[in-house]
Amino acid sequence: MNVARTCGVAGVVVLLAVVSASAAISGAPPVKGQQPLLITNAGQGPGAKMSRLLVQRTGAVADFDYLAEPQPADLKTKPYKTLMVVLGSTAKGLGASGITIDQEIDRLNAMIAEAKKLKLQIVGVLLEGKTRRGKPGGADERCIDAIAPFADYLVVKKDGNEDGRFDAIAKKSGAPLTFIDDAMDFSEVVKAMYAK
């Protein structure tokens, strides 16, 4: 199965190359990323796993992990240098089948406090754009509040910034802000971040 999987991955890399030929990145140039990299999410949406998939397929990052719900202690299990937090709550599963957003925000606050203490580079990513934007007070917006103002670098799918929210956050925090047209373009950002 591993051989098969490798072949599959190779195929997708070719496809990615074709798609990325028309990639569109704008705003601030990508900042330098560090390793080991920990990829996680805010809100349990699918974005972090999508990012993991893209990071994996670029082949640019040798040492990275993915954790769905890291607690502060998890940030110390390895000498991580960069924490990539993909923003966005899950839309599937309301009530008993969904997440409790209050608990999730508490976890995120604790995680960010620990990351700051450990002086990790925090990269906030809104990979799915306006799909994971919502009304004030909604789960998506609260996740953004919990992470984005503390990020050292922000990558946002352009249609997620139609109201200028990320411009305002970046202006206040001074974090560079890079825009991508499509989620697929994130591969190019990762390649640039981790170019040797």
Binding site: G8, A91, K92, S97, E128
Partner: protein, 388 residues
Amino acid sequence: MNDRALVGRRVGLLLASLALMVVGTKDIRALRAYRETVVVSEAFTRQAPLSTYFDGIRGTLMDVPVFVFDSGVPGGSVLILGGAHAYEPASPVMAYVVMENITVTQGKVFVIARANMSASTLGMLGNAYPPFFRVKTPWGEKTYRIGDRETNPLEQWPDPFTFVHYPSAQNLAYQDSRNLNRTFPGRPGGNLTERTSFAISELIRREQIDMTIDVHEASMGYPVVSTYVCHQRAEEMCMMAAMILSAEQFPMKTETSPKSLRGLTHREIGDFTESFAVLMETPEPFIDKFVGPMTEALMLTGKDEFMQTAADRGLLYAEYDMKTGATLDYRVGRHLGGAAEVIKQMGEFYPAKKVGVSWPTYAAVMEKGIGAFLHDPAKAAAARVFRH
């Protein structure tokens, strides 16, 4: 009024009521009796009743045909499950367009177009749905049924007062006992809907189906519209497919099936079979409760003023413009494109499970309309025409 006149009046009213029953059930009887026709493509190899896989539904309306399109070349297998919810018409129509146009070069494709046949013979209670809709084709009109979400009480009645899902014992609404997408993985000794789910699960197990694609439509006020919902084993394929579709064809989201919402195909087929379980939702204004008059035109075009208000107030989870609406072509096109991409991704991730398959693309359907891809049963070879 004397007694005789009184009796006469009451008899008269009773007769009027009977007359109303006769006139008022014309469409109801027609909906129950009407059978759709499908002209299968040359890739068709065989069909078998669903009861082949579980005898417990034999002789019932749920014993629907399973159509097989087998290339004969080793590869993966896919099941397209249409019509689990019969009030979501783009779902069976997508399955029909597939059946009429499919070519298979590797692996095999199974299609069930009307997974809940019973539901498709029932008008949606309290929702005033028209019983039929017609699709224009170059050779005339093709008529399809619009059914209900749930199994017809003529086949399954009464409901329990709360539906207890098997085997999780999770409580769901009482009418979900007739909802095919709440009764998976099914129960061999259960109600008819549960037995149908079990039969489909058995088909998936026995035929070793690699990927099951359950085709649905969603109201636009539902956050999971325009989305793949995938079992966690299939999530990476869905994510990749969603990103590629969003970049190249149409906006598509992806969500992973929540582990504590039970009975749905994307959870239970993934848990109880080896198959990758994928469910697709497309935007269907007809299903929302805040739309205007319930007409066939609304179902076909999706153009609605109230829906525009909802869009303007930020209540919708998909792009909406009343001028373009959400046409049946668009919705069926999305499903055709969505299914093709996720199948392709399965082949990329697992080359041994590759299925070489093609059918009309999203772009082709948007350009020509689905009518261009539906064939005239009168001119087709009899062996390729099925009533359904």
